[in-house]
Symmetry: C2
Subunit: 177 residues, 2 copies
């Protein structure tokens, strides 16, 4: 498809809204209201015993303490996905990681939101001192790997569910090898 | 937390944008820009041999043919999640299902989007005639269950990845039982 027109109809502090026209391969044109997001990252950070999660208020969905993997938006100009992931892992859980690998790329809600989320696996962890955002109220949750399967039913955040389910598959494959 | 104020700052054909103020348990107040979405459903429809997916253009993320589970927004007034799921399964893949069970509820992007997505498992499938939306260009993809694991790397849609990974876990548990 080809984007033939885009008009910003709302500009906010975090996302914009655009009305866009696209021409499809068959020549037909469609109009879409698109929420423009800078993209984001999520980190499945673990050692042999634990995976490191955060619990934080998520006002938009009415949750006082949503359990998630460390994550953040690509809202620093010029910062790559990996640089953003390293910064967020430091800020949110106070860890650095020696080994980083791309786990998956996902679209949060591809019908109307252009947010692409890049998931990393981070291992070889060590504690660091890092600046944290004062407005964020983040509790670090060190979850034993053996309990990941049993907490899945409680997980509501899509990226976290994807990250933990992929971790269980990797872990299962490793145990079968 | 308590929502103390909400002001619609943009109203579109599909989603609205609101600036909201919340009072947290400790008395502090925070302001959030929230994308207001009616909620949505996704359906993991399968029999003993196949899971039924759709491939469709997703202009917002620049994809000509994104592979997804059948899904749709709760955009019909008064319709429940289950009724919406039954309608979408008919419209998108021409199937009715005898058995429905709740698989999971997920938030697509809980930092700023209030979309809650309800995932169902649907079994006992039979073909039906159903109205389809003329503007939607949907190709039905009948994926052998044995191939689900190997197509995961191709899946970019978050709800579809969650649905298929949960199906693999259910299937694995059934095979071990």
């Amino acid at each position: 498809m080809e984007q033939v027109q885009s008009q910003t109809v709302f500009s906010g502090p975090f996302v914009d809204v655009a009305m866009r026209r696209y021409r499809r391969a068959d020549g037909s044109e469609v109009e879409r209201q698109v929420i423009e997001h800078p993209g984001s990252v999520g980190i499945v950070a673990h050692d042999e015993a634990f995976v490191y999660l955060v619990r934080q208020p998520r006002e938009a969905v009415g949750e006082d303490g949503l359990l998630e993997i460390p994550a953040g938006a690509l809202d620093v100009a010029g910062e790559s996905e990996l640089e953003c992931a390293k910064r967020e892992l430091g800020e949110e859980v106070g860890l650095a990681a020696e080994h980083w690998s791309l786990l998956h790329e996902i679209y949060a809600s591809p019908g109307f939101l252009d947010e692409k989320l890049t998931l990393f696996e981070a291992t070889g962890l060590s504690p660091i001192q890092a600046e944290s955002d004062a407005e964020e109220q983040i509790e670090i949750v060190r979850l034993p790997l053996a309990e990941v399967g049993s907490v899945l039913a409680e997980i509501r955040d899509a990226k976290t569910l994807v990250g933990l389910l992929l971790l269980l598959r990797l872990d299962g494959a490793a145990q079968r090898a």
